[in-house]
Symmetry: C2
Subunit: 152 residues, 2 copies
DNA sequence: GTTTACTTGATAATGGTTATCATTACCGCG
DNA sequence: CGCGGTAATGATAACCATTATCAAGTAAAC
């Protein structure tokens, strides 16, 4: 039931999915946005704007930090990216897969490490709550906090 | 199963609980800390440092904002207070009840309203995950995001 | 090619939180 | 009781992730 999340995504498929959605929305094509989208497509789990920016600059890109934030905001507004707050005051983002398939996070309060997990019973419970409550539930997030193997 | 959380806490009991824990820890008694502890004891759900500070000042207290942050950090470190991040860049805090009884939150992404809920199946699922995963889980939090009745 | 307005990158501004520091005031001890 | 050591305080400066601003660049429509 609770499984260490296996990374079996095709990075290219999300990239295409996102590019299509952007084209459909009618945004112009630009190298900055392309670079950010490609960088996000390569992630299996969450990364902050600053981390994405640093990775891009290391790879020789000249994208500005503002464009990273702007692109993340755009993609988030379009539901192409999931925002995750691990509680350290930094927003992290990961690709949202079209099928609804996703994972949640184990956060080490000692070293800040983030691990992914998935659990069907958890999803089922959340789904039932959403049906029962006087609130339209669009999204959910779950974080388990504690100590990772290394910090324990 | 999923119930709108009923507020049946005795505010005084958490206040005493916290005061005892602070005494046991050997901290000095001060009016600033007392005021913050009392303010938190009066909460049924989460409030930010600034909100707590404003409430105290309105009530005639001269507590500085720094003391509010310091007290929250102290109480959080002692496990007396739960920190909640609703994703708007503001940390909120609510009293941690000794029996482990707690609730989770519905967050309206439109107006920012926060409602509490509790669900046994959800807790059970999380408990099972904690047992199964290679991680020491000390705490967990769950947020359901969407639109409240008023914003829907 | 020209025009239009979407994008960009640099940089200033914002705002919650944290660090600093001189001053205050608990509280154990004589 | 007083003292003295030092935890705690409140004002304020510093920090830092995120946002807003703006002049310059550049897709894409015509
Ligand atoms: Mn889920
Ligand atoms: Mn719970
Ligand atoms: Zn992830
Ligand atoms: Zn609450």
């Amino acid at each position: 039931m609770a499984t260490p999340h296996t990374h079996t995504h095709d990075h290219g498929s999300w990239n295409t999915h996102a590019a299509d959605a952007l084209a459909r929305k009618g945004t112009r094509r630009s190298s900055a946005r392309d670079a950010v989208v490609t960088a996000i497509a390569a992630q299996d789990c969450c990364a902050s704007a600053q981390e994405i920016h640093a990775r891009l600059r290391t790879d020789g890109s000249t994208v500005g930090i503002a464009s990273v934030y702007r692109t993340l905001e755009l993609l988030h507004g379009m539901g192409l990216v999931t925002r995750i707050d691990t509680g350290d005051g930094v927003a992290r983002f990961e690709p949202t897969h079209p099928g609804g398939e996703h994972h949640h996070h184990l956060v080490c309060t000692s070293c800040g490490a983030v691990e992914a997990f998935h659990d069907d019973a958890l999803e089922e419970a959340i789904h039932r709550i959403a049906d029962r409550v006087d609130f339209r539930v669009d999204a959910h997030d779950v974080a388990l906090r504690g100590a990772c193997r290394a910090c324990r």
